[in-house]
């Protein structure tokens, strides 16, 4: 079980959208640059006019590791578990982490398509997670 989340000012729109099963990412109004994690200003042009843009919820698996010694007490009973890095379809430079529910440990198909799903954390706050929808990746164990 993931720890609960207490939204703060910077991230509240992200978490509120997650509770509505929507994935939003911060976008600069001036230069259209997407950024995640969010920041008070655009990291490219410095504009302080940023908005939250809804994403399609599609992406691909860029990379992954298998956590065997987790520092978070609430997750230790789930060890070992996958932590993959997902690149968003709208912008592969934007990454999100995922435990890849449904994918066996260390059998992560790198490059495979994924779609967003939403999972409850310990305090009920929903968090974006990702599920493999195709089998187009490389697959196989870490070297």
């Amino acid at each position: 079980m993931k720890q609960g989340v207490v939204p703060d000012d910077l991230t509240r729109p992200f978490w509120e959208a997650a509770n509505e099963h929507r994935l939003v990412i911060q976008s600069c109004v001036a230069c259209k640059h997407l950024q995640h994690p969010p920041a008070p200003v655009c990291r490219v042009c410095g504009s302080d006019t940023v908005e939250w843009k809804e994403m399609s919820g599609r992406g691909t698996i860029y990379n992954y590791g298998v956590v065997h010694d987790c520092p978070i007490r609430l997750l230790q009973e789930d060890q070992p578990f996958n932590v993959a890095v997902v690149m968003l379809a709208e912008d592969p430079g934007i990454q999100m982490y995922s435990h890849l529910p449904g994918t066996p440990v260390d059998e992560v198909p790198v490059g495979a398509e994924v779609e967003v799903t939403f999972e409850a954390t310990a305090n009920g706050q929903m968090v974006p997670e990702w599920r493999v929808v195709g089998s187009s990746g490389e697959g196989g164990e870490q070297a």
Partner: protein, 115 residues
């Protein structure tokens, strides 16, 4: 047959930090006819060196995650692992089908009654 796996650091007096179980106890357990060895985060070569320096011939020296390999290799009626960490000793020991003892419980050598 009883198999006893010892963690080192925080468990044996030679550990870093030192635990409460003296090497004499391990020697006594070995002399009782138990299968004995270490399961530790120390390099395997360092585990062997520790046992050699105390003239104790152990049956296995393995890394922390290898209790299932020990169980597969050695036939015993009961398997014990003694260690000082919940996440690195107790939980994996129980998952591997071992009985688990904290060092202060092992001082009493509770397996003796069962022999």
């Amino acid at each position: 047959m009883i198999l006893i796996s010892f963690d080192i650091d925080g468990t044996l007096t030679v550990g870093d930090p030192p635990g409460i179980l003296p090497m004499e106890m391990v020697r006594a357990v070995k002399e009782q006819g138990c299968l004995v060895g270490s399961c530790s985060d120390r390099p395997i070569s360092a585990q062997r060196a520790i046992w050699a320096s105390h003239n104790i011939e152990v049956d296995f020296t393995v890394s922390k995650h290898m209790l299932p390999d020990v169980k597969a290799e050695f036939a015993a009626d009961v398997y014990y692992h003694i260690g000082d960490r919940e996440d690195l000793d107790r939980r994996p020991a129980l998952e591997a089908g071992f009985e688990f003892l904290w060092p202060h419980e092992a001082v009493e050598m509770p397996w003796v009654e069962g022999t």
